[in-house]
C-alpha cells in the first residue's frame, strides 16, 4: 500500500509525459493517492506505536548497507497525508495550462511523489534522493510557467536550495562517516540504534548538527536564509507555490525531527541558543517585514517564512508536547498556506495584479473566494477551531516548560512570550490583507469578475474540512505522533 502511495504519482507523471491526458490522469492519480493514504491512516495500528509500520525493503548494495527501505510511523504518516491532500488540491486548482500542459502536470506529480517518498524513506540515501527528485521540478515550474520576474526568481531558488542541499549532503556524509565502520549504515533505524549507544562522539555531533541545521534551515527558509522564499512563491504558478510552501518545505523540518535531533542530541543541546535566536528572527523580524508588504503574493510568501519560526520553536523545545505541536502545525500550515496561495492564484488569473492598493471590495463579486481566503487567513492566524491553533498552543506550552534544564535556558520563556507577539503580528498582516482585498469599495474595473467555479468548492472544502476536523479533534493526531518523540526526547535530558 505504501509503495503504491509513493509510486502512484510518479507513474502517473511518466504516463503523462508519454502522452496520457494530463489533467484527468493527474486528478485520478492524486485522488487515488489520497484514498490509499486515508486507508493507511485508518489501518494504522495502535496509538502507542513507536516502530515503523508497512516496512518494505529491497537491498541495493550489501557492501554499502544500502537498501530501498520504506515505512511509516505516526510522524511520517501525518506528512504523507499532508502531501496527498495538498497534491489533490493543487492539481484541482491548476486548471487548463496554456503551454506544455503535460510537462506542467508531470512536474506537479513528481514533486508530490518525491515528497511522499522522502517522508516514507527509512534509508538515508533515498530520503535525500527523493527530496532532490521533488526539488528539480519546482525550479522548472517557476522558470517556465511562472510570472513576473520568473527567471531571476527561478535562478535564486535554484542556487539557494542547491547550496542548502549541498551543505545537507556534506552533513549526512559526515554523519555516516562518524560511526565506527561496523555500525555504518544508511538505515535510519540502525543509525538511531548506534547513536543511542553513544557511537557518535560529542564533538562530531556538534559539527554535524550545525551542518544539518544550516542545510535543512536553508530549505525551510530559516532566518537569515529566507530571502529566496517570498520572491519564488510570488513568481511561481499557484499550484507550485502550494506544493512547495505546503509540503516540500516541511521536508527540512521533518529532517530535523527525524535525523538531527534524535541522532545528535549533544549537537542539539550545543546549538539550541543559536536556533532560538534564528527562529525569533523568523517570528518577529520576518513578521514585521510581512506587515510592510504591498503585494498579496509577497505577503503570503513572507507569512509562510514567518510561521516556520513557530515550528522551529516546537522542535527546539526538546519536549514531546512541543515537538508534537510542531508536527500538528506543519500539517495545519501546509493546508492553510496552500489554500491561501490557491485563492491568490485565482485572483491573479482574474485581476492580473496582486498589489493590495489596487484591489478592494472583491468579496462583493467573489463571495466564495472571500469566504475561502477568510477561513485560510483565520487558520493561519491560529484562531481556535483550526488545527493551527492546536499546534501553536502545544508549541507554546511545550516551549515554556521545555525539555532542557530550566536554570540554563530561560531563553525559551522569553522566546515563548515573543512568539505570542508574533500572533498579534500575523493577525495584523492577515486581516489587513483580507480587508484590502475583499472589503471596502469595489473598483469599477472589477465589477465583471466572476467567482470561483463551483467545482473548486470541492478542494476548498477538503482543505478547510481537514483544518477544522483536526482543529476540533487534534487528539487522534497527537496520540499518533507523540510516541515517535517519546524515546529520543527523553534521551536528550541525559548529561
Amino acid at each position: 500500500m505504501l509503495l503504491f502511495i509513493i509510486f502512484c504519482p510518479i507513474a502517473a507523471a511518466i504516463l503523462i509525459m508519454a502522452g496520457a491526458p494530463a489533467r484527468k490522469t493527474a486528478l485520478a492519480a492524486s485522488a487515488l493517492t489520497l484514498a490509499a493514504t486515508v486507508f493507511l491512516l485508518i489501518s494504522f495500528p495502535g496509538t502507542q506505536q513507536r516502530d515503523f509500520q508497512h516496512v518494505t525493503s529491497f537491498s541495493i548494495s550489501t557492501e554499502w548497507h544500502l537498501s530501498f527501505t520504506t515505512g511509516v510511523d505516526g510522524l511520517s504518516l501525518v506528512m504523507v497525508l499532508l502531501a496527498a491532500i495538498v497534491t489533490l488540491v493543487a492539481v484541482w486548482f491548476a486548471g487548463r495550462i496554456d503551454k506544455y500542459e503535460n510537462a506542467f502536470y508531470a512536474c506537479l506529480l513528481f514533486i508530490s511523489g518525491g515528497a511522499i517518498g522522502a517522508f516514507a524513506s527509512i534509508d538515508l540515501f533515498f530520503f535525500y534522493a527523493f527530496h532532490e527528485l521533488a526539488l528539480i521540478p519546482t525550479f522548472l515550474l517557476i522558470g517556465i510557467w511562472g510570472s513576473g520576474n520568473r527567471v531571476a526568481a527561478a535562478w535564486k531558488i535554484t542556487i539557494y536550495l542547491a547550496m542548502g542541499s549541498f551543505i545537507l549532503l556534506i552533513g549526512l556524509i559526515l554523519l555516516y562517516q562518524s560511526l565506527p565502520v561496523a555500525s555504518r549504515s544508511f538505515d535510519i533505524r540502525a543509525l538511531k540504534a548506534a547513536a543511542s549507544l553513544g557511537q557518535i562522539s560529542a564533538d562530531a555531533q556538534r559539527h554535524i548538527y550545525l551542518l544539518l541545521l544550516i542545510g535543512f534551515g536553508i530549505l525551510i527558509s530559516l532566518f537569515p536564509f529566507h530571502t529566496w522564499a517570498p520572491e519564488a512563491y510570488a513568481s511561481a504558478p499557484a499550484p507550485a507555490a502550494m506544493l512547495h510552501a505546503g509540503v516540500l518545505k516541511k521536508f527540512g523540518l521533518y529532517g530535523l525531527l527525524r535525523l538531527a535531533t534524535p541522532l545528535l542530541p549533544e549537537g542539539a543541546r550545543h546549538w539550541v541558543g543559536l536556533l532560538v535566536v534564528l527562529l525569533l528572527g523568523n517570528i518577529i523580524y520576518v513578521g514585521l517585514v510581512t506587515i510592510a508588504q504591498k503585494r498579496l503574493d509577497w505577503m503570503l510568501g513572507y507569512s509562510s517564512v514567518m510561521h516556520m519560526g513557530y515550528i522551529f520553536l516546537g522542535i527546539a523545545s526538546a519536549s514531546v508536547l512541543g515537538a508534537t505541536g510542531a508536527v500538528v502545525l506543519m500539517f495545519a500550515h501546509g493546508l492553510s498556506i496552500a489554500l491561501l496561495f490557491a485563492i491568490a492564484g485565482e485572483l491573479r488569473k482574474r485581476t492580473r495584479t496582486l498589489v493590495l492598493d489596487e484591489l478592494g471590495g472583491l468579496g462583493k463579486v467573489m463571495p466564495f473566494a472571500g469566504l475561502a481566503f477568510g477561513l485560510g487567513a483565520f487558520a493561519a492566524i491560529g484562531l481556535p477551531g483550526f488545527a493551527n491553533f492546536a499546534g501553536e498552543i502545544m508549541i507554546f506550552f511545550g516551549a515554556f516548560r521545555n525539555g532542557w534544564e530550566m536554570e540554563r535556558l530561560h531563553i525559551f520563556q522569553i522566546a515563548t512570550v515573543l512568539g505570542l507577539w508574533g500572533i498579534v503580528i500575523s493577525t495584523v498582516y492577515m486581516l489587513r490583507a483580507y480587508r484590502k482585498t475583499f472589503m471596502g469599495t469595489l473598483g469599477k474595473h472589477w465589477k465583471e469578475l466572476v467567482d470561483l467555479r463551483p467545482a473548486l468548492r470541492v478542494p476548498v472544502t477538503l482543505a478547510v474540512g481537514a483544518l477544522l476536523c483536526y482543529g476540533f479533534f487534534p487528539q487522534p493526531f497527537v496520540r499518533m505522533i507523540a510516541p515517535a518523540f517519546s524515546t529520543y526526547l527523553a534521551a536528550n535530558k541525559q548529561p
Binding site: 535564486k156 520576518v286 514585521l288 517585514v289 506587515i291 510592510a292 508588504q293 495584523v428
Partner: protein
C-alpha cells in the same frame, strides 16, 4: 439579530452568581466574604445606568458638546499614533533591511562577487599558448621559491 444578544446578556448577568457558575466551574471557598468591592461595583453600575438614561433618553444628539468625549478620550488617535510609530515603523525598517541589506547586500553581493570573479578569470583564458606557458613557468618558479628558499 437581537436574539443572540439577549441570550448572551442573560448568560453574562447570571454568570457572576455562584448558584449558576457552580454548574460549570469548581468555585473556591471563601473564608471571609468581602462586601466593599461588590457594593462599590453595583453602586457605580446603577449610577452609570441612571445617568445614561437621564442624559440620553429621547435624544437624537449628544447632550454635551465636549471635544474630549466626542473623540472618545482620543483613544483611537493615540492608538493609531502609537502603532504607526512603533510596530509600523519597525516593519518599515525591517522591510528596508531585508530588501537592501540581506537580499541586495549579502545575497546579491555574494552572487555579484561570484559573477565578478568569473568575469575576471575569463580574461586569463586568452587562448594564447605562449601566455599559458609563461603562467605555467611563473607557477613553477613560485613553487620552487616557496618550497626551497622559504
Amino acid at each position: 439579530m437581537t436574539g443572540p444578544l439577549i441570550a448572551l446578556a442573560v448568560l453574562a448577568t447570571l454568570g457572576g452568581f455562584a448558584f449558576f457558575a457552580r454548574n460549570f466551574l469548581a468555585l473556591p471557598t471563601e473564608n471571609e466574604v468581602g462586601t466593599l468591592v461588590p457594593v462599590l461595583a453595583i453602586g457605580v453600575l446603577i449610577l452609570g445606568s441612571a445617568s445614561a438614561i437621564a442624559f440620553y433618553r429621547n435624544r437624537t444628539s449628544e447632550p454635551f458638546d465636549i471635544q474630549l468625549l466626542r473623540h472618545k478620550f482620543y483613544f483611537d488617535e493615540f492608538y493609531g499614533w502609537l502603532i504607526d510609530w512603533t510596530q509600523e515603523l519597525l516593519a518599515r525598517i525591517a522591510a528596508f533591511f531585508d530588501r537592501w541589506i540581506i537580499d541586495a547586500g549579502a545575497v546579491g553581493g555574494s552572487s555579484g562577487g561570484t559573477w565578478g570573479i568569473g568575469a575576471l578569470l575569463r580574461f586569463v583564458q586568452v587562448g594564447n599558448l605562449q601566455a599559458y606557458l609563461f603562467l605555467f613557468g611563473l607557477g613553477i618558479v613560485a613553487l620552487i621559491y616557496f618550497t626551497v628558499f622559504r
